[in-house]
Symmetry: D2
Subunit: 346 residues, 4 copies
């Protein structure tokens, strides 16, 4: 495509909770938001205040048939992602889809295959992969300063909206799966999960998920829609250094602790069975505070403009996330039994 970024025209499909944020970031980037599509008239009216120059429709066909629309953002319920994305890809539109990409890994495979065949960009909005804090953690893990990572522990809880069509795992653990894959660069061999439903007839509202690997690395998430306070805290425990990421801290979101097991002391101190710890300084690096969604949207647009470029949050990572979500669901339904994931066989 020979278009430059600020000549791209997008349609935002779904203007509920997240759609307005997508529209706002596209506008800030200078991208033309040509359509806002939603079935709910009141939401379209709301959209008019935000994007007075856009066109408003409840009809997806209007977008599919408009050749001036280069790309769509799909911010509709998860269960509709597959159908809408397939129609858009067939119509030649690049797709940015809300996380999770679809409701099954077989659907994701079809979507990826069609995007490749059509030579279109298919990206999931795993917004955290564009967060300055997550990028810093990724950089620190990759640099080796933490030493071997022993564990990754995340607590993501709040008093939030029950989703209509997905449970807390598909809603919140999706974030943790994508971050964990991105930061650690490793995929688990098996997953165990327990989820409970506390409001009859509703999806599960809290879950504990544990991921196991070939070595002693352990990854654990606590996700919860029914907590009294909002907590979003991740610990990455390395043998040499450890990180705490507190996304909700006003300042010092990332703290790097020079703490760990002092293996030197361990070697020479054989008579005493006690292990030495190193408790050194703590450092909180300055982070890039750019709005993550702005960076995600930019990555999408630049991947459209430059056909040789693939977005960070591409089909590969999106597919792996769905595989892990599926394994989590199976484990939860089998009373927490460990479910193996065969990454080769698929």
């Amino acid at each position: 495509m020979s278009k430059t970024g600020n000549r791209i025209s997008v349609a935002v499909i779904g203007y509920g909770y997240w759609g307005p944020n997508l529209a706002r970031n596209f506008r800030r980037l200078g991208t033309d938001v040509r359509y806002i599509c939603d079935l709910d008239e009141s939401l379209r009216t709301l959209a008019l205040k935000d994007c007075p120059n856009a066109r408003f429709t409840r009809n997806l066909e209007d977008i599919l048939h408009d050749n001036d629309v280069d790309a769509v953002c799909i911010a509709t319920p998860v269960s509709t992602h597959f159908d809408i994305a397939m129609m858009c890809l067939k119509a030649g539109k690049h797709c940015l889809v809300e996380k999770p990409l679809a409701d099954s890994s077989s659907h994701v495979q079809e979507m990826i295959a069609l995007a490749v065949a059509q030579n279109l960009t298919l990206m999931t909005d795993h917004t955290y992969l564009y967060h300055g804090g997550i990028r810093k953690i990724c950089e620190l893990v990759k640099s080796g300063v933490l030493g071997p990572v022993m564990y990754y522990d995340s607590v993501r809880i709040n008093l939030g909206l029950f989703q209509k069509d997905v449970n807390v795992i598909w809603d919140l653990a999706t974030h943790d799966f994508s971050i964990m894959l991105y930061v650690l660069g490793r995929r688990p061999t098996s997953i165990s999960a327990s989820a409970v439903c506390h409001v009859e007839g509703r999806p599960e509202s809290m879950a504990y998920v544990t991921c196991f690997f070939e070595d002693s690395l352990i990854v654990h998430f606590h996700v919860n829609w029914l907590a009294p306070v909002k907590i979003r805290k991740t610990i990455v425990g390395g043998l040499n250094k450890m990180i705490i990421f507190d996304e909700l801290a006003a300042d010092e979101q990332i703290k790097i602790y020079d703490r760990g097991v002092d293996t030197m002391a361990l070697e020479y101190n054989t008579r005493e069975i006690q292990i030495s710890y190193r408790t050194g300084d703590m450092e909180a690096p300055q982070l890039d505070r750019t709005e993550p969604l702005g960076e995600a949207v930019r990555d999408f647009v630049e991947s459209i403009v430059d056909p040789d470029r693939s977005p960070v949050s591409d089909g590969g990572i999106s597919y792996d996330v769905i595989r892990m979500l599926e394994a989590t669901e199976i484990s939860h339904k089998q009373n927490g039994a460990r479910v193996n994931i065969d990454w080769n066989g698929r």
Copy 2:
């Protein structure tokens, strides 16, 4: 026994980490600390500074044969609790034993049987059961203001000493099991646990434990010796109100949130699938800040003096804790499989 509390004479067996705290609290209560017993001479020298009028010995026999010793506190490694306590009970001494009471439920059963036969007090130092915050939570749960408890979540992590003879489950989860039993007054039907060892040849240093019950109540602990910071935080999630207990907070250790699912709204709001939440005020009650160990020691002494009285942290709760620790160990060794606990059959 006709003795009054301040005529009781105790011997402290084991003067490592916890022994000095026990001795200090007995002295503050006015109880005579007649012996300090430890194999390590340097610890006995340290004890001399604290209790200049006590007798110092490395020989348990000195204590067993001294008829003026009414009671012993056993603060030695867990693996020695059974042998030492059995000798002391046989010698007619009341026993206060560091948590956990022993290394197996069969040992605990023998200890309880002997204490009953000898008409002696056998108490475990589950210190948290005497903490003003835990007592407040217990009171709130029992009063019903929380509504049905949906979940109990505890994070108890720090960069601490590796124990010589027990892993992190027997060291830290013991606290959570005793608190959970005391506060909720319920025993789990099954337990699932994952623990990992990150320093070769050492006990497991972190674990995730999940307890399941007859209904949808779920209880979960994260215990960890290798965390960069110390966190001791418990959430008790009721349908009407929720509590957060932050033991390390300088002030406001207990926060009661008037938050929960608004079931009224739920009933009448059938068309809209969204659930209402109630986010009302938060209240932090003033707590009794007495040192918990002082209260524990007082309960022990008063239970000796008054033969009709049983301490809060008695054999019953101690036994249940051990049964849960055993189930946790089995689950961990079976890759996290759910292990049922038969509370009738034992």
Copy 3:
């Protein structure tokens, strides 16, 4: 005026830091933002993205001569407020002016007189008076539950932008003066202040301000542009209860402490010279989290529509704030000497 609120047409004059926020809140209210006026072309270009349907001008005359413009918001440097507002009032426009209303009390008097003569609304954007937390404090103080207020202490520091034309007193202490007047409903008899300039040739960047009253009430502000962290914390100390308002807290911005001097104990405990304190519970009420600027803008619009209504942040409070700022400046220039304010004589 017979217009209803959503028929009002406003012009935003000055589109630097605060102008976009004003424009956004007017649009959300449904008010027509007819003009954006700024001398800087790049800011006008920015405005185009936010308000594609507005008219853009660098010329104030365009606004003054447009009879369809009912009101203006003046978000320009403080030194220009007087001239611009006087022109607008003469042209029959209602005025919402950024705080502080003008650079001298004599200017403010002229502005108020003209607004009265023209029968127009003149309001200062003292946004804090519309903050849910401040409104709650005001309500609590007025209800008497705090008992007599002993002191009011505010810390408002950050690493912020040096203002071009005003020092830290006129920039930040303005907030504290307006809040203090609103919450306590009392005016100081004298003020003492010390301010220092740490960057040569620049306005003072930090100041300490103390206000004295007829009784022992004391009010103190620390305002600072050169602090390493952002703090916005106010303590209102009553004899019976005390409040801490932490504006930057994610949750529990207002905490009400049942703490104070126990005067009953004081009376009867004459032999013992020690005073008793009451340290009871703490309560954090749920607050109205509506954006304060939205409420301010609504108050402005409703005061235009309803000629019998006066905005909370009206000329009276604005004038008192300026009088206090002037006394503060004089004290600072007289090495912190106490400067009396004659509220009758003016």
Copy 4:
């Protein structure tokens, strides 16, 4: 003196709030606590539990006439410091005196003169000078990494005991004066203070103190006995880096912020009147967590043993603190007028 440290014999005079802490730290150091002296019999009984081998007296003469007593610690009300210390110095006893050293600078001069004449150590227990955090700040300021210090701001508030014989300035600001002298190594040229009394007939319970210097350095304290929460927070603002010391933080008591005015940008950016800030990383160094009072007591004992050694908290700093307290009192009584201090003339 040829005695070694662990052969020193001390008497603790006054066993109220602080005396037991002094006794405990002397015992831990291995120093013989030979006497506990207090007029109150119940306190002497309490002392018996802590120091069973000490002698107990209400009669100072017993101590003065006992040649085996090398040194005394005076932890009595401030108004009695001078008389007791003079008697002890005359009797040849080294003196460690609770802060502030005495109730007037002329008294302090007499005390210092007598100590010098008698060749005895006279030290004030300014405990903070032995705090790991304060020592770290001192080291950082002296090293120059902060750049020129622009300001020093301290908040030291709590709901505490009203002192019988001193107001909040002599009680709490004493700490801040000693720390400021030690850390900055500079003495103010003038002081301004406002203090208020909120309980009739009692000493002033809150005060604001400002210190001025030859340049634009400004130092400010807020001390308060009637605050709803305990805060002990100090900011040291350097042109290059800034420090926040939060004494009550469980961890990370010292935070060093790489923040300041970017003077380079300032120089070259003359057209734009805006100043650049540098907001870099934050670092929290590991601190020495030894109990400060233990270090103070050690400094006292070592200064006795080694006649060439002078304690950190010596007569010089103690005298300067009293001069500043006196200036503060005068300013407060003169309605906050700036009171000059002539450091040459005395």
